[in-house]
């Protein structure tokens, strides 16, 4: 599997995700500069990491969505290649219209760094093959603007197509406003593109992969990608 992690000037979790990929797949990811126009040849997974791509003082990800490298990322996605956007990466994917919807400020208007519970909605995707539908994962979030929303029509379509991959729930996997920490519509934490090859999610699975540091519920996501890519 050949992963490429895109480095925007204000990315700051590129190291976290690169080390998770190395730890789980055994193969180091290539780091790609935002001003480059091409992905390394043979890339089969593109990761847009967390951070504050261009400072993000206005709309998070709005400038990054127009960076030179994004044309290559879009072409990769159009060809059905896997694109994973985590946190700021999710915001960038929405701004680049590779995913629908937007991420607004958290409902309580504060940055939040804490562990949350995510319910896996389906396991027949490249990102969740190693989980079971209904599994509840303990994964940290760290964002100020993760409140997912879209117009009614889009939400209906996303739900109808089964493109909501993760939701914020209680530890038992129940939908509950109390556990939807940022106020996202339908407690949406992660969504897929129409072809299921592009995933954006706010939580950080890459921060829960090392048993010496904490829980390891995030490993399954990277193991799933590895399984899918190595089978291809």
């Amino acid at each position: 599997m050949n992963a490429a992690v895109v480095l925007f000037p204000g990315s700051n979790r590129e190291g976290d995700v690169a080390s998770a990929i190395k730890r789980i797949t055994g193969k180091a990811a290539k780091i790609v500069w935002h001003a480059d126009e091409d992905l390394p040849s043979g890339t089969d997974l593109v990761v847009l990491p967390g951070g504050f791509s261009y400072g993000d003082y206005l709309r998070c990800g709005a400038i990054a969505a127009r960076a030179p490298i994004m044309n290559a990322v879009r072409e990769h996605a159009d060809r059905g290649g896997l694109v994973l956007g985590i946190c700021n990466g999710f915001q960038i994917l929405c701004e680049a219209q590779l995913l629908p919807g937007v991420l607004q400020r958290n409902a309580q208007l504060r940055f939040m760094c804490k562990e949350v519970f995510l319910r896996v909605e389906r396991s027949d995707t490249p990102y969740t093959r190693r989980y079971n539908a209904g599994d509840v994962l303990r994964i940290p979030v760290a964002h100020g603007e993760g409140n997912y929303t879209a117009d009614e029509e889009t939400i209906k379509r996303l739900e109808g197509d089964g493109r909501v991959l993760f939701r914020y729930t209680s530890p038992e996997g129940k939908l509950d406003a109390k556990w939807n920490h940022n106020g996202s519509t339908n407690a949406i934490a992660g969504v897929l593109s129409e072809k299921f090859n592009v995933l954006g999610l706010m939580p950080h699975p890459e921060n829960h992969v090392d048993p010496l540091i904490g829980p390891t519920d995030g490993r399954g996501l990277f193991e799933s990608i590895k399984t899918v890519l190595e089978a291809a």
């Binding site: 000037p9 204000g10 976290d16 967390g50 504050f52 760290a142 100020g144 010496l212």
Partner: protein
């Protein structure tokens, strides 16, 4: 301000620059003529309290600053210690008190930015931030706004910059009503052979300006920070700078890249007093002159004068002396990161600080004297009178120990600070082994197994009552917190926050605290490697509580061999190591439950402190104890409650021993104590080890159940206690004035 450089210097102008008449006389004598306005500005920047340490220097010199592990003590951008394997830990703490009161978000933000720059200027990649915050009384109408702004600002900077904020301390007291404290600490890692210093060497080398452009923000910031607040402090808002963590992140990456390429001779960040202070330090430390041509300085505003450029405190800027021939390579790196890069001057052999603007000479001053000849005061001081020891019999007992405990754990000082640290990204970089909420944060170094333990501590109540014991206690508590996770304490940074040093009683507090810090550092082999002094923390003539914040770093050879405070399982014995005498003077119980702040604070027996700490560290290393917690504010019962709340496991406690009244036993704040748990089988060995070490060990009860049970008291549900503990701060912040 658009006045001519040759404007007549009047006594009013001198006073507006925060210089005393005798200090101005000193300037006249030094340069033998009337200074230009730019020169006056430069002197005011270099000779204010914040930059010159003129009131504190004579006392700071007494602190122990050397040791086997010390690579660089105070005097550089940050302190450097050896943590083995060719690695160094670089750290410092600094205050941003005045700006944070005036504009809490930006004040706190730029405090974090400044301290991060101090650390990466030396070649280190920052791995953790901490802070120590003091706010006014929760009832004060501005407190909520200040808490909200400061916390958002600290988070806003660190979260975007990409460094985890892993720990700190927060307290409230009416004495901070008009003058809050924001102390920020940064910790970084570098190879011991790749550390960069401010000292310039070599004549005729290019002096390079890096980072963001210079604007009119922050002019006179350091002078403002060296004065008391009166009415209308808010009018000083224009002296507060605006932080840009994105620019700082770029600056970090560009600086580390340029350093790795071997381009750098000397580097200094532009902090307080910006271009002035950084250029003078680089030149003076290297016995070189510096010439600057200001028309080359990247500016973001039109028609800036020399005076403005020399005093601007615009953030995210650096000054660097480059190796000859490296200009193109260095510039390419900065251009890649989208940052300004300009050669603004060169080093000379004249020992003059020469400032030109469009060819016109604006200032020409002796560079060494700007720093060395700053006034130095040995200000008169009066010792703080000793307070009588408060006998426990003069402190009323609560109706119920349980009620008092419930009130204490839900008090502003002892409640959970989750609402605060959840706004800080404390997980980024994937190395946070122990998250906020424990005795000390534990951060893995690279891939481990090595880790650093980090903590910030001070008990201002104690320092106010007895500066000497309070100074000792701040150091001892920091040492204890590092020990409680199993780390070997290595060194500290100190952030000394006091009132107006021109008042002998305030100076007495300062001198007393320094003496206490010194004694504790010597006894515990815990040198001071960096620090910062913040004086004039007064509003309308009333000083803050003396607050010498101590930031400590400890080393864990293998972080898997560390301890946490949560109870681990039921049926384990709870022990206190160290003597319990029931000291209630200046205790949290006395202040919170009885509403009095009286008596002498608990004395710190440093030999006992060392014995207990060394014992606990050894027990952790041998895996004999299952949970460890430092016993401090609130005493034994609060410590046990915290261990229970962290785990959800309760405890059944025994009757307190005869000879001490129960409330003094459970809430007294005797020092040098730890609460530990261990399986019954390990008890004989622990008790024998304690006996050998000369530390008393007393059994307090057993873990288990879901309640805290005290003899003859109603049981307290741990879940209920935790709910109270967790809810005070969110409830307070959600309420309206």
């Amino acid at each position: 301000m658009n006045i001519s450089n040759t404007v007549k210097i009047t006594p009013e102008l001198v006073a507006e620059h925060g210089l005393k008449p005798d200090e101005y006389e000193r300037i006249l004598k030094l340069i033998g003529r009337e200074p230009s306005i730019t020169e006056l500005g430069i002197f005011s920047a270099m000779w204010n309290e914040h930059c010159s340490y003129k009131s504190s220097k004579v006392h700071l010199k007494t602190l122990p600053v050397t040791g086997k592990i010390v690579i660089q003590g105070p005097g550089e951008n940050a302190g450097v210690i050896d943590i083995g394997d060719g690695q160094a830990c670089i750290f410092k703490m600094e205050s941003h008190n005045h700006p944070s009161y005036i504009e809490p978000y930006q004040g706190a933000t730029t405090g974090v930015g400044g301290i991060l720059r101090d650390v990466f200027t030396m070649g280190a990649r920052p791995i953790a931030c901490l802070n120590a915050l003091r706010f006014g009384s929760p009832d004060h109408p501005k407190t909520r706004h200040l808490v909200s702004g400061v916390v958002a600002g600290i988070g806003g900077y660190g979260n975007s910059f990409g460094v985890p904020t892993v720990g700190g301390s927060v307290g409230f007291h009416s004495r901070y009503d008009g003058n809050i404290l924001v102390n920020a600490m940064a910790v970084g890692i570098a190879d011991t052979d790749k550390i960069f210093y401010a000292k310039a060497t070599g004549v005729g080398l290019p002096v390079v300006y890096l980072g963001s452009k210079t604007g009119r923000d922050g002019i006179h910031g350091a002078t403002m920070a060296s004065a008391e607040f009166g009415e209308g402090a808010e009018e000083k808002r224009p002296t507060v700078q605006v932080g840009d963590p994105f620019a700082e992140k770029l600056l970090l990456e560009a600086c580390l890249e340029i350093m790795a390429k071997g381009c750098v001779v000397a580097i200094q960040d532009m902090g307080a007093a910006g271009l002035t202070c950084s250029a003078v330090e680089m030149g003076a430390k290297g016995d070189l002159g510096i010439t600057l041509d200001l028309e080359k300085v990247p500016v973001r505003e039109e028609a800036m004068t020399a005076y403005e450029m020399m005093l601007s405190e615009s953030q995210e800027r650096m000054l660097m002396v480059l190796k000859p021939g490296k200009e193109a390579e260095a510039e390419a790196i900065f251009t890649k990161w989208g940052l300004d890069f300009a050669i603004v001057g060169h080093t000379t052999d004249t020992l003059r600080f020469l400032i030109r603007h469009n060819g016109e000479e604006m200032a020409d001053l002796p560079i060494k004297e700007l720093g060395d000849q700053a006034p130095e005061y040995n200000r008169p001081f009066t010792e703080t009178p000793k307070l009588p020891v408060l006998d426990a019999s003069n402190v009323p007992a609560p109706k119920s120990l349980g009620d008092a405990l419930e009130k204490l754990v839900a008090s502003p000082d002892l409640c959970s600070k989750r609402w605060i640290w959840e706004q800080y990204d404390h997980l980024i970089l994937n190395n946070t082994v122990q998250r906020p909420g424990g005795d000390a944060a534990v951060v893995r170094v690279h891939d481990g197994p090595k880790a650093l333990a980090l903590s910030t501590d001070v008990t201002p109540r104690y320092c106010e009552a007895d500066p000497f014991e309070g100074g000792k206690q701040a150091v001892a508590e920091c040492w204890r917190n590092l020990t409680a996770v199993g780390a070997t304490p290595l060194a500290i940074t100190d952030n000394l926050n006091f009132g107006n040093p021109e008042k002998p009683e305030i100076m007495g507090q300062f001198v007393g605290c320094i003496r206490g810090i010194k004694e504790a550092c010597l006894a515990l082999n815990f040198p001071v490697v960096s620090g910062n002094v913040s004086l004039y923390n007064e509003t309308q003539g009333r000083g803050i509580l003396p607050t010498p914040t101590i930031g400590g770093v400890g080393l864990l050879k293998d972080f898997q061999n560390s301890a946490t405070l949560a109870f681990k399982s039921s049926g384990e014995a709870i022990l206190v190591l160290g003597d319990t005498r029931g000291w209630l003077g200046q205790s949290a119980y006395l202040a919170t439950i009885v509403g009095r702040e009286e008596g002498a604070p608990p004395p710190v027996d440093l030999a006992a402190e060392k014995r207990a700490g060394d014992l606990v560290r050894d027990l952790i290393a041998k895996g004999r104890v299952t949970a460890v917690h430092d016993c401090s504010d609130g005493g034994l019962l609060v410590a046990i409650a915290e261990m229970a709340m962290a785990s959800g496991i309760g405890a059944a406690l025994e009757l307190s021993p005869g000879g001490i009244s129960p409330h003094a036993f459970w809430f007294g704040e005797d020092q040098a104590r730890y609460v530990v748990t261990a399986p019954a089988l390990a008890l004989p060995e622990i008790e024998a080890a304690a006996k050998t070490a000369g530390v008393s060990a007393m059994r307090l009860g057993l873990t288990g159940g879901e309640q805290l049970i005290l003899p003859a008291e109603r049981p307290i549900s741990v879940a209920e206690l935790k709910k109270r503990h967790e809810s005070w701060l969110p409830d307070y912040m959600a309420a309206r004035n």
